[in-house]
């Protein structure tokens, strides 16, 4: 497995291009010159608008489709190498399984594909049903499952082989807030265990919260990549939280064009110009007020995403 200064590379895409035939000799470009690496033990986020090529990228990594050109390596091997698949777990977007089976039977089926013995399968199924909170519904046919239940059981099947690399396509879609929180906690726990997680999601707040590195795709091209910290630039907005603020200070700060908000007995000033912060702090203090905190706000991933997509050109609907 190749190593870099950043760590052991688990997934590597080099100048990958993917065209889909459209009939009559035409093609549509899904990915163009896409390159990135995923390192062992990180949570890697792949984000992008609809049609940006996220699912195509996942399918290429899984060996479900073939690249038009470029190179893909998973655990330093071809994605079509069968031994690689022993180390992978995959949860597709909006998963659908054999609905004539119940949860026990479904997990048993996938366990059999990995060649686990009966006792191994039994033990693993118990652990996984417990982990995804589906023990109560283990005998219910999948056709009666809600979307969220299907997502939970999908996660269980992705973990059946205790994979080193977990590929998750929109894992929290359709799941209630508690379930979504549980899944995020699980991802963090798996990272602690040294697992690598490749996450495709539209939920940018989640990606920002749990991912170590992020790639933003737009129209099949990588338009931003880096650690979350690298991507999120500080803004000019500064938030000052103060107490015992006099009316004069209110008036003065309002004239600077700052927004004022009351929060739990404190006053929150949000200055649009960072350079005015020292004089506002001085004014608060000179009027016997107390400054509780000063924070220079950074962009959210959503800000970065929207800015990047706009700069790169949004998909045109024709």
């Amino acid at each position: 497995m190749s190593n870099t200064s950043a760590g052991e590379v688990v997934v590597e895409l080099r100048n990958v291009r993917k065209e889909y035939p459209t009939g009559w000799g035409g093609t549509i470009l899904a990915l163009d010159d896409v390159s990135f690496e995923v390192y062992r033990g990180e949570i890697f986020g792949l984000v992008g608008p609809n049609g940006s090529g996220k699912t195509t990228t996942l399918k290429l990594i899984l060996g479900l489709i073939f690249p038009t050109s470029g190179e893909i390596k998973v655990f330093d091997s071809s994605p079509f190498d069968i031994s690689v698949k022993n180390k992978i777990g995959f949860l597709p977007d909006g998963p659908y399984f054999y609905d004539f089976l119940n949860a026990d039977e479904l997990l048993d089926f996938y366990g059999r594909l990995f060649g686990y013995s009966k006792s191994e399968r039994k033990e693993r199924i118990e652990q996984l049903l417990d982990l995804v909170g589906m023990k109560r519904f283990r005998k219910m046919p999948l056709r009666n499952y809600s979307k969220g239940m299907m997502q939970r059981i999908g996660l269980a099947q992705a973990l059946i082989n205790d994979p080193d690399l977990l590929l998750l396509d929109e894992p929290t879609t359709g799941i209630d807030p508690i379930g979504a929180h549980d899944i995020k906690q699980l991802m963090l726990k798996l990272r602690e265990q040294g697992k690598t997680i490749f996450l495709c999601s539209h939920l940018l707040a989640d990606v920002q919260m749990i991912c170590d590195r992020v790639v933003i795709l737009n129209l099949g091209r990588v338009i931003r990549k880096g650690t979350v910290k690298e991507l999120l630039e500080p803004t000019a907005v500064t938030e000052i939280v103060a107490r015992e603020v006099s009316e004069e200070v209110f008036k003065y700060v309002s004239e600077l064009g700052a927004t004022v908000e009351r929060r739990d007995g404190d006053v929150v000033f949000r200055l649009l110009d960072h350079d005015r912060a020292p004089e506002v702090i001085e004014t608060i203090r000179s009027h016997n007020g107390h400054v509780v905190s000063i924070t220079r706000l950074t962009e959210t991933l959503e800000d970065v995403f929207i800015k990047a997509v706009k700069e790169a050109g949004a998909p045109q609907i024709t």
Partner: protein, 270 residues
């Protein structure tokens, strides 16, 4: 082999839990069991009627089952996206396809075995004894249906559901008349009176037409060889050699179809 068996077992379980399977299967059983009730329309020929009607039911309802199962096999996996989670596990594409075929074969075997056992029971009751020719005919019906199922499965690796069904049914009907194709392609050899009459020179159009017919003849399965109804209703003995040859032909034809299906499936994108 383990993976192939896991896929085959799952395919079989899925097939027998489908509603349409039970509707057709139960309908076939009712038709075979009630054959005796209709045998009155052929007085003195009750035994032959029960056999003819029963075997016809096995073939017709069996064909409906295998064509529908075979034709939906791959498209339904792709549409439901269940294929994503299977091929992302350590499953080779050829293992998946052979597993699907064996699952279909197992379903066909169980279906034909149940329908055949009922036919043999009804026929033995009317004939006051077991006629081994009926058993032979049921065995041949199984292999005939297996070929049709393999055709539907091979088509399903690339075609849409509607195409797969139409294609498999069309091949079935053409295959069931394959010897007629040869007669049309080579009338001089097959028509008895051709030897006594003056033979007109063949035009290029007729030559091309005959070539096409001959090609179709060699491509389609010779399913009429599996139909021994005529021999049985005329009280002829169906030789074991014929049964053996048909089984061998059926297995070879299915093997070729599965290999074709694997080749078509190998570079399929999902």
């Amino acid at each position: 082999m383990r993976v192939v068996w896991v896929i085959a077992r799952n395919t079989f379980h899925e097939a027998i839990r489908r509603k349409f399977f039970w509707v057709i299967f139960l309908f076939a059983l009712v038709a075979i069991a009630s054959a005796n009730l209709f045998s009155g329309i052929a007085p003195g020929e009750e035994k032959k009627f029960v056999f003819d009607f029963g075997l016809g039911s096995i073939t017709l309802f069996g064909m409906l089952i295998v064509v529908f199962l075979g034709a939906t096999m791959i498209p339904s996996e792709v549409d439901r996206r269940t294929i994503f989670t299977i091929l992302s596990k350590p499953v080779r594409r050829w293992q998946f396809l052979i597993g699907k075929f064996l699952g279909l074969a197992l379903t066909t075997l169980v279906t034909v075995a149940c329908m055949g056992a009922l036919l043999i029971a009804v026929h033995s009751y009317i004939a006051k004894g077991l006629d081994i020719n009926v058993v032979k005919a049921v065995v041949l019906a199984f292999f005939q249906l297996l070929i049709v199922g393999a055709i539907a499965l091979a088509a399903s690796t690339r075609g849409s559901l509607a195409f797969n069904i139409v294609f498999a049914v069309l091949v079935y009907f053409v295959g069931a008349q394959s010897s007629s194709l040869l007669t049309l392609a080579e009338p001089e050899k097959h028509l008895a009176h051709a030897h006594t009459q003056h033979v007109e020179p063949v035009s290029w159009k007729a030559y091309v037409f005959r070539g096409v017919l001959k090609t179709i003849y060699w491509l389609v399965p010779h399913l009429d060889n599996f139909d021994v109804r005529q021999a049985i209703v005329t009280d002829s003995v169906v030789p074991w050699q014929t049964i053996f040859n048909c089984i061998l032909y059926g297995l070879l034809y299915c093997s070729v179809l599965v290999i074709v299906a694997i080749v078509l499936f190998q570079d399929q994108e999902f």
